[in-house]
């Protein structure tokens, strides 16, 4: 489960922008932010717009982690309900709307996996399939403009990772496994799992956020 400790609290209490403006604003992100602002006024159409844009990805993520469609649906419903009830929870200084949404879906899915004994057993018994990076993700569900491109960028960034780093990131993020579980599962020292996690994430950060450390 994610921690929500002092650092987070401290960060929330601050108001200055968290990110340096090294890239121009993404038009899709600006539109998402507009939708969230409209939701604060109770605009149902704005909620529907956000839901239709991101629910298919949210459903895919939750389903991938919890491995049960009905549980995934419940998670998606809960998260979007929470967003509808409290759209002010998004802080644009801290990240994009889409990452905020998917972060909530991910946290809740991982919580479910770790809470449910059966789910835990399933996670321990089976390593989730690797993501097929050659698969065309846009063919089964119609999507709004912009998201296929986002998928391409993210999948390309993942594909560029060394296999051993990508495997660990995927097990952790899509499999809901902790670093110690991955260490045990792959028979790799915990320190190696940690260092591969960091190297993989640094590389993703360089590619996706465009910031060289």
């Amino acid at each position: 489960m994610m921690t929500d400790g002092p650092l987070v609290t401290q960060r929330r209490a601050r108001s200055e922008p968290a990110r340096e403006a090294t890239v121009p604003p993404d038009p899709a992100e600006l539109r998402d932010a507009d939708l969230v602002r409209a939701m604060r006024r109770g605009d149902k159409d704005a909620f529907r717009g956000l839901f239709r844009r991101y629910a298919p990805t949210a459903q895919a993520l939750a389903q991938r982690i919890v491995r049960q469609q009905f549980l995934a649906e419940e998670i998606v419903q809960e998260v979007f309900l929470a967003v509808w009830r409290n759209p002010t929870a998004h802080d644009p200084d801290r990240g994009s709307v889409k990452s905020w949404l998917m972060g909530m879906i991910h946290h809740r899915s991982v919580d479910v996996v770790r809470r449910e004994e059966a789910q835990r057993r399933r996670a321990a018994e089976a390593i989730p399939d690797a993501i097929d990076l050659d698969d065309d993700p846009g063919v089964t569900v119609p999507e709004e403009i912009g998201l296929p491109e986002e998928r391409k960028v993210v999948r390309s960034a993942l594909a560029e990772l060394p296999t051993e780093q990508r495997q660990i990131l995927e097990l952790m993020y899509f499999g809901g496994m902790s670093q110690s579980q991955i260490s045990e599962r792959l028979s790799v020292p915990l320190g190696t799992v940690k260092s591969r996690t960091l190297l993989g994430m640094r590389r993703m950060r360089t590619t996706l956020v465009g910031m060289e450390r």
Binding site: V8, E20, T57, Q59, S96, M201
Partner: protein, 250 residues
């Protein structure tokens, strides 16, 4: 200059949801050592959270039930917007001192009234009949015909809860007083039960004084029982805990 390698390693694992409890504690310690003004720490956390969120888009989208968005909107308490509507910028008129005073007075009267009135079902009914609860909260267009309202009290462990409704008509008023907080990250969720099937109702959080006054867009025609459970914030589709209050409507 403080080295950020260690905290970065912990932040990256946390963002992916894979941090072990021991490392989560280490992250808290590191965060305390770096202090609240650590700009690099904050940037690392925001950026890794951003990356983790975007990883979801590596997946092919999955079909979503067409009814889901309507179901979510139906689960909101009142039909005119999200609970956070009050956070929206008020109009110039509603920001005026007179309007604010009016609202404060109404709120104060409402709370005081609820505390007095819902102490017992009979008293609650008097309140309904008197009309001020409806007037303060629901406006003149309330679907409830107060003269025909049926009032049922919940058998509750703590505090008092009552529900008022007009049989066969939509609109259910839930009143509570003396209710403890459901706890951090938790809400009270109301269930309408027919046979063995619970249908989720609204999620509620008592005010600071332990009171609840909510109008629910629901019809209790086929409901045998109402129950209230403590659920995670964001609500559940099925009860995950034992009821803390039950009302028999049969």
């Amino acid at each position: 200059m403080i080295d950020h390698d260690r905290i970065e390693e912990l932040i990256a694992a946390r963002a992916l949801g894979g941090i072990d409890p021991e490392d989560a504690r280490a992250l808290e310690r590191e965060s305390a050592e770096h202090g609240p003004d650590c700009i690099d720490c904050r940037r690392l956390m925001d950026e890794y959270d951003e990356i983790a969120g975007r990883l979801a888009f590596a997946l092919a989208p999955a079909p979503v039930r067409a009814e889901m968005e309507d179901e979510i909107l139906r689960r909101t308490l009142v039909d005119d917007g999200p609970a956070a509507t009050s956070a929206a910028p008020p109009s110039e008129q509603s920001r005026s001192p007179a309007a604010l005073d009016e609202r404060r007075a109404a709120r104060s009267a409402r709370r005081a009234g609820v505390a007095r009135g819902v102490a017992a079902v009979a008293a609650a009914f008097v309140l309904f009949a008197g009309g001020w609860v409806i007037g303060a909260n629901l406006g003149e267009d309330t679907p409830l015909d107060l003269s025909a309202a049926r009032v049922v009290s919940f058998d509750s462990q703590e505090g008092e809860l009552a529900v008022a409704f007009e049989p066969g008509e939509p609109g259910v008023l839930i009143l509570g007083t003396g209710l403890p907080s459901p706890g951090p990250g938790k809400v009270y969720e109301v269930w309408m039960i027919e046979g063995d099937t619970p249908t989720p109702g609204p999620c509620l959080r008592p005010g600071p004084d332990g009171s609840i006054v909510e109008l629910v867009d629901a019809e209790l025609g086929t409901t045998d029982t109402m129950a209230v459970t403590v659920e995670p914030e964001g609500c559940s589709l099925a009860p995950t805990s034992e009821p803390i209050a039950v009302a028999d409507l049969a």
